[in-house]
């Protein structure tokens, strides 16, 4: 069952975007990592609610509201989100309070807001939506599982619309930790590939339906692979995925690759590009959003926008633009032990 994207929205380091819009420039940030350009939340959420919400909740809720507004929908039949690390800022705040106050007289707000399903829960609260509400928290596959759940829901209950989102935030402390773990590096330290990825964050939402009318693109399929042990498994993974969607690698119009600036990952990615997708335009999408667990939600938003407008975002060199026709966009993302594929096609 295909999921037709009726509308989409994204808050990311390039800005705040509705359905079909494209980043006009490579993001720039003075800090150690790519940080979202945030909207004026007062335009979306009441001041009383804003006061209590952590940053990641504000981003997620706003992107969700914008997405539903674009779709002209008040209540989705399900709210499904993916987040790799959840509400880090509130978690850090509460941990800090526990230490500082030696477990006494702690204010409850940060604890209350720290549960991973706070974003999905606050969306439901704002909309007074009693529908199915799930949050997936499996690292690099958090958004993919949310998407698989949504695809199953559309099979189980066609005719119902689903709000799907992928959200993650980054904080100075969590960046420091990931850097010390060797996973991230400072974005302005050196250009090109070295040890550690340039980090980012974002919130991207979609309103999905089994009805194609007026849709910008279709999410056709998703596949995941954990812990690759044999090269043959990977070949089966990619070709098997395309085959079950009646495609060959040649049919892929565009690859949105999760290649990041970590040279250890770059090697693997470049193998994949060469062996399967040579000659196909490639968007290294993490140059827009940075590395984070739900970056594939950003990639899905970007793919849908490219397909809707049949236009590429600003990318230097790598893509030929004349006679470019975006029919099938394949997203390939790999981080830690998890690989994922998402197919986004024309309706």
């Amino acid at each position: 069952m295909k999921a037709y994207i009726k509308s989409s929205s994204s808050i990311n380091p390039c800005g705040v975007f509705s359905s079909g819009e494209l980043p006009a420039q490579i993001p720039f940030s003075y800090g150690d990592y790519l940080k979202c350009i945030e909207p004026d939340y007062k335009n979306y959420i009441s001041p009383t609610m804003i006061r209590r919400m952590g940053r990641v909740v504000k981003m997620g809720v706003t992107a969700a509201i914008q997405c539903l507004k674009d779709a002209g929908v008040e209540q989705p039949a399900a709210i499904i989100t993916g987040t790799g690390l959840g509400c880090i800022e509130d978690t850090e705040n509460f941990l800090g309070q526990i230490i500082k106050n030696k477990e006494q007289f702690l204010p409850p707000t940060s604890f209350i807001q720290s549960t991973h399903n706070t974003i999905a829960g606050q969306i439901a609260l704002l909309l007074a939506c009693n529908a199915y509400n799930f949050t997936y928290v499996h690292r690099n596959l958090s958004f993919e599982h949310a998407l698989l759940d949504a695809l199953m829901k559309l099979e189980e209950e066609p005719g119902n619309g689903i709000l799907l989102g992928g959200i993650d935030e980054i904080t100075p402390a969590s960046f420091t930790i990931m850097k010390r773990l060797g996973l991230y590096r400072k974005q302005n330290e050196e250009a090109g590939f070295s040890d550690g990825a340039v980090a980012g964050e974002g919130a991207s939402f979609f309103y999905l339906s089994s009805d194609a009318s007026g849709a910008q693109a279709a999410i056709c399929d998703v596949a995941m692979l954990h812990k690759l042990t044999k090269k043959e498994d990977f070949r089966d993974f990619i070709t098997g995925f395309l085959q079950r969607n009646n495609l060959k690698t040649d049919d892929v119009s565009l690859l949105l690759s999760g290649i990041n600036s970590d040279k250890r990952y770059a090697e693997s990615y470049e193998c994949v590009h060469e062996n399967y997708f040579s000659g196909i335009p490639i968007i290294p999408y993490k140059m827009y959003c940075g590395e984070y667990f739900t970056s594939s939600a950003f990639a899905t938003w970007l793919a849908a926008s490219v397909i809707k407008g049949q236009q590429m975002p600003l990318i230097p060199d790598t893509i030929k633009r004349q006679d470019f026709k975006a029919k099938h966009a394949l997203i390939y993302n790999y981080f830690l032990d998890d690989h994922a594929l998402i197919l986004v096609s024309e309706c």
Partner: protein
């Protein structure tokens, strides 16, 4: 459901037992697990009782075939023990099927993270950084998947106290819709200063033993533990000739959409979850033999849940009880621990006692079961798990 889903294996580790039978033996003897914390390093050690698993991390490690040099969070140790039991207990050769894992947790490896933070807080260059690599919710899942050799679809769900009920729901749907043949599903959570202090700030912890559904209830007791069930399709059943415990007959998730932590007075989310599950199961309310309520013992939950129950079941609901006075409220593991108890209720014809009950909540006037009974005809069990963020889930298990 498109295709039927069955329960073929159980695994549990909790304050009242290392395996299903040990848990049952303690319940029969009314031995609960709520007492001063044994291993948690907290100033509240002597003032707030908890239901801790009575094994240190070293003792838990000794129960598993682990790499001695690797660091494991307590959450993942508990999870590995229970998941491995469910797997081996099922007797299935998972290498010939598409077998995966859906695990749930509310705070993952926070037991290590909070220790790291003690040092990191004052100086970000300090602290053993390896301790943070176990933090995220997906870590314990990946570790359990490795141990159980689950390779097909691996996922983690975190929706506060309904997490592992939701894990069982997602895993069931993956099988029912043909995406997997067998799935380990459940959850794990270890006691942490983070959650103990968190619940304490909300003032919903009972400083004594909790009294679910009692007029004088005062709050909940936190617990820890893990539980997993092996879910299988009919195809696996046919090809493996395994013994079945129960069938997953129905389930539903709904959102209360009332408040981030409190439940609506009319229990709307609870009502929708229970009704949805009963409809999906194709049952009438009077066909439910026993209800394992969420029953945390808080003023708010029990009233809200009770109101919703009466709306569906009328003035005389089926026998019901909360098992949380035995196991404590195990957060991300609660749904799965109670699922295991629900399945045992079916296979052994049990109705569990609700400890510490003396007077019904005046606004609802319904009373839980207070004695342990066995050998009854228990055909359909309904189990509730309700979490922060208005996340309400109900599972229904039925006899095969």
């Amino acid at each position: 459901m498109v295709n039927k889903v069955y329960v073929a294996g159980l695994g549990i580790i909790s304050a009242i037992g290392r395996k299903p039978q040990e848990c049952l033996d303690n319940i029969i003897n009314l031995n609960h697990g709520v007492k001063p914390a044994l291993f948690l390093n907290t100033i509240h050690k002597d003032s707030i009782p908890v239901a801790g698993v009575p094994y240190s991390n070293e003792q838990l490690r000794a129960m598993l075939p682990l790499d001695a040099s690797r660091l494991y969070s307590r959450t993942s140790l508990l999870g590995m023990i229970a998941a491995l039991d469910a797997l081996t207990g099922s007797g299935i050769d998972t290498s010939v099927f598409r077998c995966g894992l859906v695990s749930a947790t509310s705070v993952g490896g926070m037991d290590l993270t909070e220790e790291f933070y003690d040092t990191f807080y004052d100086d970000h260059t300090h602290g053993d950084i390896r301790m943070t690599s176990r933090h995220d919710c997906g870590d314990s899942t990946a570790i359990i998947a490795d141990l159980c050799r689950s390779t097909h679809l691996i996922s983690t769900i975190s929706t506060a106290c309904s997490s592992s009920a939701n894990a069982i729901m997602y895993a069931s749907r993956l099988i029912s819709n043909g995406y997997a043949d067998c799935m380990l599903a459940g959850g794990t959570d270890a006691l942490t200063r983070f959650t103990l202090n968190g619940f304490n700030t909300l003032m919903i912890l009972d400083k004594n033993h909790c009294k679910p559904f009692d007029a004088g209830r005062n709050g909940l007791n936190l617990g820890e533990g893990a539980a997993y069930i092996m879910l299988v399709s009919e195809k696996v059943l046919r090809e493996s000739g395994i013994r079945l415990h129960a069938q997953v007959k129905g389930f539903a998730n709904a959102n209360d959409a009332y408040h981030q932590t409190a439940s609506s007075p009319e229990g709307k989310g609870a009502f929708l979850a229970m009704q949805g599950a009963i409809n999906m199961a194709g049952l009438k309310p009077q066909e439910i033999s026993y209800i394992n309520v969420h029953g945390t013992g808080t003023q708010n939950n029990d009233l809200s849940e009770g109101v919703a129950m009466k709306r569906i079941f009328g003035e005389n609901p089926p026998p019901f009880s909360s098992t949380k006075p035995f196991t404590g409220h195990t957060l991300g593991a609660a749904g799965a621990i109670e699922a295991v108890l629900s399945v045992l209720a079916i296979s052994k014809g049990i109705v569990y006692p609700n400890l510490n009950f003396s007077e019904p909540i005046p606004e609802i006037g319904i009373s839980p079961e207070t004695t342990f009974r066995q050998g009854l005809e228990i055909k359909n069990v309904l189990s509730n798990s309700f979490g922060f963020g208005g996340n309400n889930s109900t599972l229904i298990f039925s006899a095969v």
